[in-house]
C-alpha cells in the first residue's frame, strides 16, 4: 500500500483530532482540579481489562460482541496507521496481514450487528438513543470498507490468493466493478472513521477513553475499605458533587450504564428504589450541570444537592455488599458514594432514619449495638474459663498468642453467643493460648461507619486501638467478618497494623495441621452462604468450604449464586437496624434460593447472615425447616 493522503485529507484528519482533543479537554476540565498528585496507576489491570476484556466477558454474549468490535476496530486502525509509512513487506506476510485485517473487519461487523440488535430490543430509557450514533457509524465503517475492498477485487480480479481476504471476496460479488464506486466507498469509510474519532468526547464513545483510565487508576489495597474524610477540616461527606473526590468523579465518567451492578444489587433485585447505575448517572448529570452553570453564574454557589436526586429511600437501601463493585467491568465503585451521601445526611444534616437512632445512641453511651453495656460483654463466657487479657496475673503479650475479638453480636446476641462459645471450645481443644478483651472491648465501629457516623467510628476505633497497644496484641482472630474488615482494612488508616484473621481461616489452619479432628457427623447435606464482608471484601471463599468438607459424612451443595456472585443476606451496611418496608425482604429472597438446594444445614460465617437467614428460612414456613448455623458451630459440634 502507498500513502494515499492528500493535503486536504491531512487537514480533515487534523480537524477531527482537534475536535476530539478539545472535547476531551473540556470533559477533563470537569474533574482536573481534584486530581491528587501522587496517584498510582495499574498497567497490569489495564492490559487485562482492555486487551483480554476481563470483567466484560462475565456476560459471555455481549462480552464477546464487545471484544469482537474492539479488536475489529483496533487491528485495522493499527494496520492502516502503520501502512502510512510505506513499508515494503514480502508477499506472504502481507497476505497474512490482509487476512487478519479481513477477519478483524468481519469480527467488527458481526459484533456491531449483534450489539445493535440487542440495543434495539431493549426498552431502556437511556440505551438506544445514546449508543445508536456510534454503532451506526461503526456499521457504516465496516460495510463501506468491505464494499471498497470488494470493488477493488472486482476491478482487479481476485488474483492468485482469494484466501487472503475471504469476506472482501464475498462483497466483490455484489460490488460493481467501477472505480468511481470504489473511490466513493473509500471516501465514505475515511469520513466515517474521522467522524467517529471526532465524536468520541461528545457521545457514548467517550467510554473508550474514560473507562480504561478508570481501570488504570483503580483503587489499590483493600478492595472496599472506606476512606476517612478529614472531619477536622469540616469535610462531612458528600453534599454536592463538589465534595466527591477525583476518582469518584472519574467513576461517574467511566460508566457506560451496562447495568451489571443493577443485576447483582440485592436492593434492586428485591424491589427497592436504589440502583447503583442510577446513582452513578445522577452524579455524572450533576457534574455536567455544574459545568454549564459554572459558566453562567461564575461560581458553584448554587450546586444542586445530591440528596435532591438520590432520595433517602435509595441512599439507605444499600447493604454495602460490594456486589456492584465486584461486577463492574471498569472498576467503578458506587458504594463509597452512597456512604459519602449518608455521611452528609448524618454528620452534616443530622438526619438518620429514626429506627437506627437508638442503636447509634447505644453505641455512643455503652459502646455496643445492643446497649447492654461493657460490664455484660463477657457474660457469654461466664463460668467457661475463657481468659480475659486484662484480668490475668500478668497482662501482656507473653502469655497470649492470639486475641479473640468477639464483637457485639458474638458477645450479646443469644444466637451468636453460641458461636463465641463454640470458638472458645475449638481454641481450647487445639491448645491455643488465647484471650478476650472482655469488658474492655467495644464495638469495632462498623455499624456507625456504614451508617455514616464517621466521628463515632473514630472514637470507638481509637478506644479499641488503645487497648490493642496496651496489651501488645500481635494477632487477632475475629468471629464477625464485619469486625474483620474493619480491623484489618480500615484500622491501618488510624495507625493500627496487626495481623487479623477470621475464625474460619484459623480453624481451617487448625484442621489442616491436625490440631483438631472432626469426628462426628452433623448433617448429610450442607450448603454455604457466603458473607459479603468475608468473601468479596476479604477474598475468603475457600476456608468455610474446606471446613464443611472436613466434616465427616457431609456433602457440600453450592447455592446458585455463590462466591463472587454471592447474594447478600440484607443485614450489612447498617441495614440490620433499618426497616425494610419497600419490596421483598432480601433475607427471604436469599432464603428461598438457599432452600432450593434441599440441604438440611445452612452454614454461614457471619453473625448478621446467621440471624437474617434464620429469620428468612423460618418465614418460609416449610415442612422441614433447615437449620442455620455458623461454620464455627458446625466445627464445635463435630468435635464432640
Amino acid at each position: 500500500m502507498k500513502a494515499l493522503l492528500t493535503s486536504f485529507d491531512l487537514f480533515v484528519i487534523a480537524l477531527a483530532f482537534v475536535i476530539m482533543g478539545l472535547g476531551l479537554a473540556r470533559r477533563w476540565a470537569l474533574w482536573r482540579e481534584k486530581k491528587p498528585a501522587g496517584i498510582a496507576g495499574n498497567w497490569q489491570g489495564l492490559m487485562a481489562s482492555v486487551l483480554a476484556h476481563r470483567g466484560i466477558l462475565d456476560r459471555p454474549a455481549v462480552g464477546l460482541g464487545h471484544l469482537a468490535a474492539f479488536w475489529g476496530v483496533a487491528i485495522p486502525l493499527l494496520v492502516i496507521i502503520v501502512a502510512q509509512f510505506g513499508f515494503i513487506i514480502p508477499q506472504a506476510p502481507a497476505r497474512l496481514l490482509s487476512l487478519i485485517q479481513d477477519l478483524a473487519g468481519a469480527a467488527l461487523l458481526i459484533g456491531i450487528v449483534y450489539l445493535l440488535v440487542r440495543r434495539l430490543g431493549r426498552e431502556e430509557s437511556e440505551g438506544p438513543s445514546r449508543t445508536l450514533l456510534p454503532i451506526i457509524l461503526l456499521l457504516v465503517i465496516a460495510i463501506s470498507g468491505y464494499l471498497a475492498a470488494g470493488a477493488r477485487m472486482s476491478i482487479l480480479g481476485t488474483g492468485e490468493a482469494p484466501w487472503s481476504s475471504p469476506f472482501g471476496w464475498l462483497f466483490s460479488l455484489i460490488a460493481p466493478a467501477s472505480p468511481v464506486f470504489m473511490q466513493m466507498m473509500i471516501r465514505l469509510h475515511f469520513l466515517a472513521v474521522l467522524l467517529l474519532i471526532a465524536a468520541i468526547p461528545y457521545t457514548f464513545m467517550r467510554h473508550a477513553v474514560a473507562s480504561p483510565l478508570n481501570v488504570f487508576y483503580r483503587k489499590q489495597g483493600p478492595r472496599a475499605a472506606l476512606t476517612q474524610p478529614t472531619l477536622e477540616k469540616g469535610a462531612v461527606g458528600a453534599r454536592t458533587v463538589d465534595d466527591l473526590s477525583w476518582k469518584q468523579l472519574l467513576d461517574a465518567e467511566a460508566c457506560v450504564a451496562c447495568g451489571r451492578c443493577e443485576e447483582h444489587c440485592p436492593a434492586t433485585i428485591s424491589g427497592k428504589p436504589l440502583s447503583p447505575r442510577k446513582v452513578i448517572r445522577t452524579i455524572r448529570e450533576q457534574v455536567e450541570t455544574v459545568r454549564t452553570q459554572g459558566k453562567s453564574s461564575g461560581n458553584g454557589a448554587a450546586l444542586p444537592l445530591l440528596a435532591n436526586d438520590v432520595t433517602a429511600d435509595e441512599m439507605w437501601a444499600c447493604t454495602s455488599c460490594m456486589a456492584c463493585i465486584e461486577h463492574c467491568p471498569v472498576a467503578i465503585e458506587p458504594m463509597d458514594k452512597i456512604i459519602d451521601m449518608r455521611r452528609y445526611q448524618v454528620m452534616g444534616e443530622a438526619r438518620l432514619p429514626s429506627e437506627a437512632r437508638p442503636m447509634l445512641r447505644d453505641l455512643e453511651i455503652y459502646g455496643d449495638v445492643q446497649g447492654k453495656g461493657a460490664a455484660h460483654r463477657a457474660d457469654w463466657a461466664m463460668h467457661r474459663d475463657v481468659p480475659e487479657i486484662g484480668r490475668s496475673a500478668n497482662p501482656g503479650a507473653a502469655e497470649v498468642d492470639v486475641l479473640l475479638y468477639v464483637g457485639c453480636s458474638g458477645a450479646f446476641h443469644p444466637r451468636n453467643q453460641e458461636t463465641s462459645r463454640a470458638m472458645a471450645k475449638i481454641l481450647k481443644a487445639a491448645g491455643i493460648r488465647f484471650a478476650i478483651l472482655g469488658s474492655e472491648e467495644c464495638c469495632c465501629g462498623d455499624p456507625a461507619r456504614r451508617l455514616g457516623d464517621e466521628a463515632l467510628f473514630r472514637r470507638l476505633a481509637r478506644q479499641n486501638i488503645t487497648k490493642f497497644e496496651q496489651y501488645q496484641v500481635k494477632k487477632i482472630v475475629t468471629l464477625c467478618p464485619h469486625c474483620l474488615n474493619t480491623l484489618k482494612n480500615e484500622y491501618p488508616e488510624l495507625g493500627c497494623r496487626l495481623e487479623v484473621v477470621h475464625a474460619t481461616e484459623m480453624v481451617t489452619e487448625l484442621i489442616r495441621e491436625e490440631r483438631i479432628t472432626l469426628k462426628y457427623p452433623v448433617a448429610d447435606k450442607i450448603t454455604l452462604h457466603d458473607a459479603c464482608y468475608l468473601g468479596r471484601y476479604n477474598q475468603v471463599y475457600q476456608p468455610p468450604r474446606d471446613i464443611c468438607r472436613a466434616v465427616p459424612g457431609a456433602a457440600l451443595e453450592e447455592t446458585e449464586r455463590n462466591q463472587e456472585k454471592g447474594f447478600c443476606c440484607g443485614g450489612g451496611g447498617g441495614r440490620m437496624w433499618l426497616h425494610e418496608n419497600i419490596g421483598e425482604n432480601i433475607n427471604v429472597v436469599r432464603a428461598q434460593e438457599i432452600t432450593a438446594t434441599d440441604a438440611d444445614l445452612i452454614g454461614t460465617a457471619c453473625p448478621y447472615c446467621l440471624v437474617m437467614l434464620d429469620d428468612g428460612v423460618k418465614s418460609l414456613e416449610m415442612e422441614k425447616t433447615p437449620k442455620v448455623a455458623d461454620v464455627i458451630d458446625i466445627v464445635a459440634d463435630a468435635l464432640g
Binding site: L231, G234, V236, V346, M347, G348, E349, A350, R351, L352, S354, R357, L360, R361, E364, I365, Y366, G373, A374, A375, H376, P414, S439, E440, A455, E621
Partner: protein, 297 residues
C-alpha cells in the same frame, strides 16, 4: 425569651459484676456517665420551641463537676446556645456518688439563684433523675422562684401573643391533660419525645465551648433531709421455666444453663376456614380442653 434547661450529669450503674462487698459489688465498668435522659427530653422540647419561634435563647444549666462532659457537650451540640455550670470549681473532681449529692432543698436553692442571675423566663427540668429518682427538684425550684409548676409534661407550645404557654402533661395510665400556664414558669419533663441528633459542625463548636460559671450569692441553704444508707438491690433469682421434656437432655441442660425460655412449638393451620376450624377443634380435643365426642355419648 430565655429558656433554661437543667441538665444533670449522672453515673448510671446498670450492672454489678464486682466481687467486693465494700463497693456494693460495683466496678468501674459497671456504669456509664451520661446526661439524665429526662433532661435530654426537656432540652428537646426547648429546642422545638426555639425552632418554631424567633428570639429564643436556650441555655443548659448543670451543677457540680463535669463527670459526663462528652455527653453534656453533645447536648450542647444539638442546639443549645449556652452552657452554664454551678459550682464547677469547688466541687471535688471525683465521681459524684448519689449518696453524697446535696439534698433537693439545697440543690433547688442553688439552681434558683442561678436562674435568677440568668434571668430565665422558662425553666425546664427532667421529671426525675435516673440515679436518684427524687423528683423533687423541679417542684422545689418553682417554690423558691414563686412560679407556677407543671410536672411530667410531654409537649410544649408557645403562644406568640400574651406570653402564655400551652403544655401537655401525662397524668399517668395514658391520660393526658392540656394545661395553659402563664410565664414565667417551671416545668418538669417526662420521657417520650424523639430526640434529635447533633451535626458535626455543632459538635466541633461544642467541644471547644468553655462552660460559663454562675455563682449564686451568699451561703447556700442547709440540707433538710439526709440520706443515711443506700442499698443496692439484691440480684434477683432468675426464673427458669421447666424445659420441654420432648427435647434432648443436652438441649434441656443448655436451656437451664443459659436461662433461656422454652420455645413452644406451634402449628400453623392452613387451608379453608372449615378445615382450620376442624384443626382447632382437634387440637382442643386432643389436649383435653374440649370433651371429645365419645364422652358425649
Amino acid at each position: 425569651m430565655h429558656i433554661i434547661v437543667c441538665a444533670k450529669q449522672i453515673r448510671h450503674t446498670y450492672a454489678r459484676t464486682g466481687t467486693s462487698p465494700d463497693t456494693h459489688y460495683i466496678e468501674d465498668w459497671d456504669g456509664v456517665y451520661r446526661v439524665n435522659p429526662h433532661d435530654e427530653a426537656a432540652l428537646e422540647l426547648a429546642l422545638r420551641v426555639k425552632d418554631d419561634h424567633a428570639g429564643i435563647t436556650v441555655s443548659l444549666l448543670t451543677m457540680g463537676p463535669m463527670i459526663a462532659e462528652h455527653e453534656l457537650r453533645r447536648c450542647l451540640a444539638t442546639g443549645a446556645d449556652n452552657l452554664y455550670q454551678i459550682d464547677g470549681n469547688n466541687a471535688p473532681d471525683t465521681a459524684q456518688e448519689p449518696i453524697d449529692q446535696p439534698d433537693p432543698w439545697e440543690k433547688s436553692d442553688r439552681l434558683a439563684r442561678a436562674v435568677k442571675s440568668l434571668n430565665g423566663d422558662l425553666v425546664l427540668c427532667g421529671k426525675e433523675s435516673l440515679d436518684k429518682g427524687n423528683g423533687q427538684v423541679g417542684a422545689l425550684l418553682a417554690h423558691r422562684l414563686a412560679r407556677p409548676f407543671v410536672s411530667a409534661i410531654t409537649d410544649l407550645g408557645l403562644a406568640t401573643s400574651d406570653g402564655q404557654v400551652q403544655v401537655q402533661r401525662s397524668a399517668g395510665r395514658g391520660v393526658r391533660e392540656i394545661i395553659a400556664c402563664q410565664l414565667p414558669a417551671v416545668f418538669s419533663v417526662d420521657l417520650g419525645v424523639d430526640l434529635r441528633l447533633p451535626n458535626l459542625k455543632r459538635r466541633q463548636w461544642a467541644d471547644e465551648y468553655p462552660p460559663r460559671p454562675v455563682e449564686g450569692n451568699g451561703e447556700s441553704a442547709p440540707p433538710r433531709i439526709v440520706c443515711k444508707h443506700r442499698f443496692q438491690p439484691r440480684p434477683r433469682p432468675k426464673l427458669i421455666p421447666a424445659p420441654d421434656s420432648r427435647q434432648h437432655a443436652y438441649d434441656r441442660i443448655m436451656q437451664l444453663l443459659t436461662g433461656s425460655t422454652v420455645e413452644k412449638k406451634g402449628e400453623m393451620l392452613t387451608g379453608s376456614p372449615d378445615s382450620q376450624v376442624e384443626g382447632i377443634l382437634a387440637f382442643l380435643k386432643t389436649n383435653g380442653f374440649l370433651e371429645s365426642d365419645r364422652s358425649d355419648e
